[in-house]
């Protein structure tokens, strides 16, 4: 499960030794996130985001469990119980704001983590399983976040539940019975709120379980690295602890600083004012949008305004609504096949000149989709999201396979160590050159 030169667990503390002999849990931790896990020595700060995601999940679990002590999952009182948390419960406002913004930050972290994987080819052999489990975690996160947003039972909660379960109604024939079954009624009501609360409490623990599998699968080949060249010997690695515990700790401090700034000074910046209006089944908010982290997918959903029909006959094969739903799910399910779509043997985008350019275009495309998803459903946003949605699919289904055929990758370093030394040698030479070091720059006083 690890490299042969990994350090072995040798407990000095007699209590730990006693425990380890009877239940090798200390050993497991040591080998997973301690000195027993050798990690490439050249990881950059993009490699912090896995650990940060784990911390974000922990924040959600801890704040969520205590919020559940004060929340009442009943359509009659849910909204009031959230206001009770905000006004009456000791530090309730802090817990709720941390939980609500914690979800946003969890998604920010996971999106960076995903794009890190996309750029550095982390989805390629032998790490396909790590990637597949990651996509599963992402889907579970989306389900959990959606159901959590329904719980305050405000206007956006209610209409979000209506619209999202309405997606299932687009399925021919069985769609409407499925929607009724999911909601436990003909519209979102007490039954829906109650089951969403139950599942919202359950799914984070399922996520935690899949994360264990995700890390387990990761630790078989070990972490990838910015060069994409596999570890070749002990000189290529450093122990996870203390090197990356320290580096991750530094990244974590920065993350908590930004998180605290938002929680304390802009706690509602990422939310919708409409959700402070109690749910009203008789009136839809004028501008109904999901939370920001769903915007790119919402834009794809709304991009389909025309039925797929046989020309000139008017025979509709797939109605527009179903097309949108299928496209939205396909945009995520596509990621399951990525390891086999990208056949280039070079992992890291750093050594793929063509891939690098199109990767940046993809990032831009997703940002454009996100912007359009948050905008009202009118021109020019509809047309822009149609183009951007088409490009999203074209990137994975057309452009990426073509890149794999036509791209000439640049020369890979012989090893991680070689890449690291080349970099530091260059830096050393540059500093040694006269007149270029910062300390030699002429100043105004001279």
């Amino acid at each position: 499960m690890s490299f042969p030169w990994a350090e072995h667990y040798a407990p000095k503390n007699p209590v730990m030794k006693w425990v380890d002999e009877r239940l090798p849990l200390p050993r497991l931790v040591y080998n997973a996130v301690g000195a027993g896990y050798p990690v490439p020595r050249n990881l950059n700060y993009f490699w912090n985001f896995g650990v940060l995601a784990g911390v974000a999940l922990t924040i959600q679990l801890v704040t969520g469990i205590v919020l559940a002590m004060h929340f009442a999952a009943n359509a009659g009182v849910a909204f009031d119980s959230v206001e009770h948390i905000m006004r009456d419960v000791n530090w309730g406002w802090l817990l709720r704001y941390a939980h609500a913004n914690g979800a946003s930050f969890f998604f920010i972290i996971v999106y960076i983590h995903i794009f890190r994987g996309l750029y550095f080819g982390s989805y390629k052999a032998p790490r396909e399983m790590v990637w597949l489990l990651g996509v599963v975690i992402f889907l579970l996160m989306m389900a959990t976040a959606f159901m959590g947003y329904v719980l305050p039972w405000g206007q956006m909660s209610f209409w979000g539940a209506q619209v999202i379960t309405g997606l299932f109604a687009a399925i021919p024939i069985v769609g409407e019975p499925i929607q009724t079954w999911l909601l436990g009624g003909f519209a979102p009501g007490n039954a829906a709120l109650n089951r969403f609360f139950s599942l919202h409490y359950l799914l984070p623990f399922v996520i935690a379980g899949v994360i264990v599998l995700h890390i387990w699968a990761l630790h078989i080949p070990g972490s990838s690295n910015p060069t994409g060249v596999e570890v070749k010997g002990p000189q290529d690695t450093v122990p996870f602890h203390p090197y990356y515990t320290a580096k991750d700790g530094f990244g974590l401090a920065i993350f908590l600083l930004i998180f605290a700034a938002v929680v304390f000074f802009a706690p509602n910046a990422l939310g919708h004012p409409d959700n402070y209006i109690p749910a009203n089944p008789m009136s839809t908010p004028a501008h109904i949008v999901p939370e920001w982290y769903f915007w790119p997918f919402y834009a794809i959903l709304r991009a389909f305004t025309m039925d797929l029909a046989i020309p000139f006959t008017g025979i509709v094969i797939i109605p527009a609504k179903l097309l949108g739903v299928l496209a939205m799910f396909a945009s995520i399910l596509l990621l399951f096949f990525l390891s086999w779509i990208d056949t280039s043997p070079v992992r890291s985008g750093n050594y793929r000149p063509l891939f690098k350019k199109f990767f940046l275009l993809l990032v831009l495309d997703v940002l454009v989709l996100g912007y359009c998803g948050g905008a009202p459903a009118e021109e020019p946003y509809v047309m822009i999201s149609q183009i951007a949605a088409a490009y999203y699919f074209a990137h994975f289904l057309i452009i990426l396979p073509l890149i794999c055929i036509y791209e000439k990758p640049s020369a890979l370093p012989g090893s991680i160590t070689e890449a690291v030394l080349a970099k530091s040698k260059f830096k050393g030479e540059r500093d040694a050159l006269p007149g270029t070091g910062s300390d030699l720059q002429p100043t105004g006083q001279a």
Binding site: V163, F186, R302, F304, T305, K321, A377
Partner: protein, 188 residues
């Protein structure tokens, strides 16, 4: 599982074909499988609408106070229900359209009850993603075709609540209802 056991024991018994143990394996797994499926039933159907939710499945609406040109919102199965008293002009507008040109071809007559064609009763649920369209209350935007307008994604419905423009695939749903008197309907 059964084949593994078979493979392991075949050497000892040196015989082919079905053995008593195969039968016991198949019988045991089948029994457990049927039991497991039987447990799934209640676990799945508990999520369907409960008896009290289904009990709200009918609604009575009094029409006597609705003037021509007016509409009211009622509640049917916890969803909005639009009851609209059409004017002569609105009926004429709806009948002037050739149904074959529509996305969901229906005539006004098919969407109302004979003898009561001035009463248009529909669900107030947009067939796109379930928002409540505007147009039932006084002063609300009725869209380009004078019926209903859904602000979520811009679906326009005409005076017979038929989809004319925008992403919605179907006309507003006409629920099952009957006239209990000249001025009252029972929906559901």
């Amino acid at each position: 599982m059964a084949t593994e056991v078979h493979g392991a024991e075949a050497v000892i018994e040196e015989g082919e074909g079905v053995r008593r143990r195969d039968f016991i394996n198949v019988a045991a797994v089948s029994f457990a499988g049927v039991g497991g499926l039987a447990v799934l039933g209640p676990l799945i159907t508990q999520m369907s609408p409960s008896a009290d939710v289904l009990a709200q499945a009918t609604t009575e609406v009094d029409l006597s106070a609705i003037e021509a040109g007016q509409a009211v919102k009622a509640v049917f199965r916890s969803q909005p229900l639009f009851v609209r008293h059409l004017t002569e002009k609105e009926i004429a507008e709806a009948n002037a359209v050739d149904p074959s040109t529509l996305r969901d071809p229906q005539t006004l007559a098919e969407r109302t009850i004979e003898g009561h064609s001035q009463w248009l009763v529909t669900m107030g649920v947009c067939t796109h993603l379930g928002c409540v369209p505007l147009g039932a209350a006084e002063g609300e935007n009725r869209g380009e075709f004078g019926g209903y307008f859904c602000p979520c994604h811009g679906s326009h419905y005409d005076t017979a609540a038929r989809i004319r423009k925008g992403p919605a695939p179907k006309n507003l749903v006409v629920p099952t209802y009957q006239f209990t008197s000249d001025t009252a309907i029972l929906v559901g």
